[in-house]
Amino acid sequence: MTELGLVASQLFNGISLGSILLLAALGLALSFGLMNVINMAHGELLMMGGYLAYLAYRMPVGPWRLPLALLLAAAGAALFGALLELTVVRRLYGRPLDTLLATWGVSLLMQQGARSLFGPVGVEVTAPDWLAGAIPLRSIGLPGVELPLVRLFIIAVAGVVLAGLALVLTRSRWGRLVRAVQEDRDMAEALGINSRRVDLVIFMIGTGVAGLAGAALALIAPVTPTVGQSYIVYAFLVVIVGGLGSLTGTAAAALAVGLLSAWLQVFTSVSLADVLLLVVVMAFIQVRPRGIVTRLSRALEEA
């Protein structure tokens, strides 16, 4: 592989990792920006999406297996998210650190539940045939570099989800309500917006995206009871770097963390890259403590 080829393939790896992180972090960023709540069970919703995809794959539905799997995963996770919001998150409103601990408890329950149902060993979801190949870049002068179709598919899914969310938030009536509550909850309530319902819907959308992400990720890695844990800490770092619940910031942060991580792995080992990533994030918050995209506010008391 040529020098340029290495750069190209690491660039692709970085974008691929970034899109995965984006899928994992979008839901977190949404509910964090709106409700100031971090859902520690978010990774387990990814895991749940993976298992739902696995179940969907065992249904005899022929070529529609993949869309069905994605749909089932998103819907299932969104429903579970609604349950979680109504039973736990809502009760702890205004106590973000307690929400964090309670949802950690939920994540433990979900992990052990998955272990009891599906066993500790991972299950595989094989990608359909039309996603099995890879696009070689030999024709444009990069021999040895191949772009696997599955990864391109995940990048596409991340792009579609991001665009869809952006469209909903900026163009729809619901999006306007969400932005109103995010900007000034008391004022929005005074104008007759049911902010609790907005919270619920956003939480459901966030967990639904997590489920979808889990189903998509199941195509490239086996689904295990602890699969969520392997993505979630990076997703948190993305939220920190991105800033309070802005889609642009989250997308930029996911891409930056993905590219940086892929680039670091060229020079060091995977584990040292982990450490250096934290160092870079710590250095970053020295410069921009509120993330890439900051929300201007006159309020003294902000999270």
Partner: protein, 353 residues
């Protein structure tokens, strides 16, 4: 301290001090290591219960303390020029320079306290001086725990990797596995716990302790009164780091192993449930919660291994939603009904903009 409370403390201390005479060796060794862990819990009470900032990475400092002592114990009893076993297996031919100072037990013992305190202080300063706080701080500590655990596992040749450091030599010429040494270690652990408990109690009444609580309840108000809040938070976190380091060293000495399994994200968050169960604001609650949860864990996971995670998950949810003051809160409400025992949320953070 009111007279009655003082007598209760004295009574509990007496019962614990007589442990070697009324407990079976197995239960005594369990109690010894849980008492060591409860020193870490005291630190969590200081930062989380009083300071109101949550650390999801206390295992980092536990590990630093444990490894600092374990490095000395690995070197103890080796002839000069010899290497610890795992280094030989990994093909190292000389001792890394940063291992060398740990040959001296006094240096190692100092490092047990100073290294975790310094690392914790630096980390807290880096985050707090830019006014990053709340959930952000918690998530960064979590990333720290993940990073250190990954690093320890990957650097097999220098850290013993996944298995950690075990199979120790003597400390000050005493083999730690001897029955008499274990009893001595138990006494040392109890003494360290008393010292830390006393220090924390004294702090809670000092200006520092009151200011810490004030920062929890309204950081901006404290700032408006003219205080720089950063040094207080940094000092609190450094103190909690030192407590965790002492706990880690005593743990390693008693159990005979320290490994990344005590450092990572999962064990670090598990440490919070000790304090949450006992009551996050109360030092006695931290010790009580630590002992209860860990004896419970030992009992449940030996009887029904798969059930423990369900129990712990349920504990997190129930304690946080229903019993935010833990057992300590329950007792306080019973004994002294009044505004002080009000079970209001203890971390009244701003409810978003």
């Amino acid at each position: 301290m009111p007279r009655r409370e003082f007598l209760v403390h004295l009574l509990v201390l007496g019962v614990l001090a007589l442990g070697p005479w009324w407990l079976s060796p197995y239960n005594l060794s369990l109690l010894g290591r849980f008492l060591a862990m409860s020193i870490l819990a005291l630190g969590l009470t200081v930062v989380w219960g009083w300071g109101g900032f949550l650390s999801l990475g206390q295992g980092v400092f536990f590990g630093l303390g444990g490894y600092a002592l374990a490095m000395n114990l690995k070197l103890a009893g080796l002839a000069p020029g010899d290497l610890p076993d795992f280094m030989v297996w990994s093909g190292l031919d000389h001792l890394p320079w940063w291992w060398a100072p740990f040959r001296h037990p006094v240096v190692a013992l100092a490092a047990v306290v100073l290294v975790p305190a310094a690392v914790a202080g630096l980390f807290a300063w880096l985050v707090f001086h830019r006014r990053v706080r709340g959930v952000y701080f918690a998530l960064l500590t979590q990333a720290f725990a993940l990073a250190l655990a990954t690093l320890l596992i990957s650097q097999q040749a220098y850290t013993g990797g996944f298995n950690g450091l075990t199979d120790y030599g003597p400390l000050f010429g005493v083999h730690l596995t001897d029955a008499s040494a274990q009893t001595t270690l138990y006494a040392v652990t109890l003494g360290a716990l008393c010292a830390c408990y006393g220090l924390a109690t004294w702090l809670s009444r000092s200006h520092f302790g009151r200011l810490l609580v004030a920062i929890r309840d309204g950081e901006n108000r404290v700032r408006c009164l003219g205080y720089d809040t950063v040094p207080y938070k940094v000092a609190a976190f450094a103190l909690a780091g030192a407590f965790a380091g002492v706990a880690g060293a005593l743990f390693a000495a008693q159990v005979g192993v320290i490994s990344p399994a005590m450092v990572g994200v999962v064990p670090s968050i598990e440490m919070l449930i000790w304090v949450a169960v006992g009551g996050r604001e109360s030092l006695a609650g931290a010790v009580l919660g630590c002992l209860l949860v860990n004896f419970g864990k030992d009992w449940v996971s030996s009887a029904m291994p798969s059930v423990w995670l369900f129990v712990m998950g349920g504990l997190f949810i129930v304690v946080v939603t229903v019993l935010p003051q833990g057992i300590g809160g329950l007792l306080a409400r019973r004994s002294a009904p009044g505004p002080a025992a009000d079970a209001a949320p203890m971390t009244p953070e701003p409810a978003g903009p």
